[in-house]
Amino acid sequence: VKTDTLNGQLDPLILATLAEEPAHGYAILQRLKHRSGGAFDLAEGTIYPALHRLERDGLLSSSWSAQNGRRRRVYTLTRAGRATLIQRRRDWLEFAHAVEAVLG
């Protein structure tokens, strides 16, 4: 799946990967790859601007943490982020059912 196809869907995908537990940028990307079976072919750097935007919108919060002597920015899903994820999941299911009905 190319980046163009993912446009507009990257935000809920990031929120979904953080629903389990807080993670840093690289770990989020690994989870995305793992859960999608490596189907997403996106420039890895693109998740960072998205993470910053989601944080600015109040859907994520972040803080520095030291792990193995390295400083890492760890992102956590906020309450608003969790509510948004539920809503986006519902929207996606409606959309997917509609597309499936048309495509057959």
């Binding site: 840093h24 940028g25 690289y26 990307l29 420039a43 890895e44 750097g45 693109t46 960072y48 601007p49 998205a50 910053h52 935007r53 600015r56 109040g58 390295r70 400083r71 890492r72 920015r73």
Partner: protein, 237 residues
């Protein structure tokens, strides 16, 4: 030049502030350290910097617009309000007048710049970020404080300069009798103990020189109709 150095240059070229730039570089440095050699998969530094500039740069610019700019104006207004306050306490009439003017306008100017975040929200349809909201709140509090100080200065100015202007109005009134009817009978002198300046207004007469008030009858010389008999105003000759 390394991939991170290129990204740093591109971010700087797009005006991303250093604090945000360092955070981005630290995150991506950690990413590269987690999987050495992954730079090509991160994407083109130029394209990524553009994305950051689009996603974050605009917001940072807006925060700068909504908080720093009013802050600068607040500093200026605060200085002017302070000068105005000092001017009100001096004996110089010019300083007092200009001080009152500045103190009166400082509050309004502060209001305008305090509304900038609201204008920005209406214009861009984007609510201020947390940093911007906090800065705006602080700026609003500062404006309120300065306004309070400016209002106090105006009140002081009115107490000091306002009395003068009332007296000044009184000094202008000698022109008034020119417009009064020539055939109107002279007003009767009031004996109710009102202050002289109000007595003057009530009678419509001409004031004594250098004073506000005085009855016109005092200014009239008795007309001699018969030797040893004074003219009675309003009476039959």
């Amino acid at each position: 030049m390394s991939w991170l150095s290129q990204l740093s240059d591109e971010l700087r070229a797009r005006g991303v502030p250093s604090r945000e730039r360092h955070r981005i570089l630290a995150e991506l440095h950690d990413h590269i350290a987690s999987e050495p050699g992954c730079e090509p998969r991160l994407g083109d530094p130029d394209g990524l910097a553009s994305q950051f500039a689009d996603e974050i740069g605009l917001e940072l610019q807006a925060i700068d617009f909504s908080s720093v700019l009013p802050g600068r104006w607040l500093a200026l207004i605060g200085t002017l309000a302070g000068v105005a306050g000092a001017g009100l306490l001096t004996a110089s009439a010019t300083l007092r007048r200009s001080g009152t003017l500045v103190a009166g306008t400082a509050g309004s100017a502060g209001d305008v710049f305090d509304d900038i975040p609201l204008i920005r929200w209406a214009w861009l349809r984007r609510p201020p970020g947390r940093l911007g909201a906090a800065a705006s709140l602080l700026a609003g509090l500062a404006v309120t404080l300065f306004e309070w100080r400016a209002d106090r200065s105006v009140a002081e100015g009115l107490q000091r300069g306002g009395v003068r202007s009332i007296r000044g109005g009184c000094r202008l009134s000698p022109a008034w009798p020119r417009h009064r009817r020539r055939d109107a009978p002279p007003a009767r002198r009031r004996r109710d103990g009102a202050p002289s300046r109000f007595r003057f207004t009530a009678t419509g007469g001409r004031p004594r020189s250098g004073a506000c008030g005085g009855h016109p009858a005092r200014q009239l010389r008795p007309r001699q109709t018969e030797p040893g008999r004074a003219h009675r105003p309003g009476g039959a000759d």
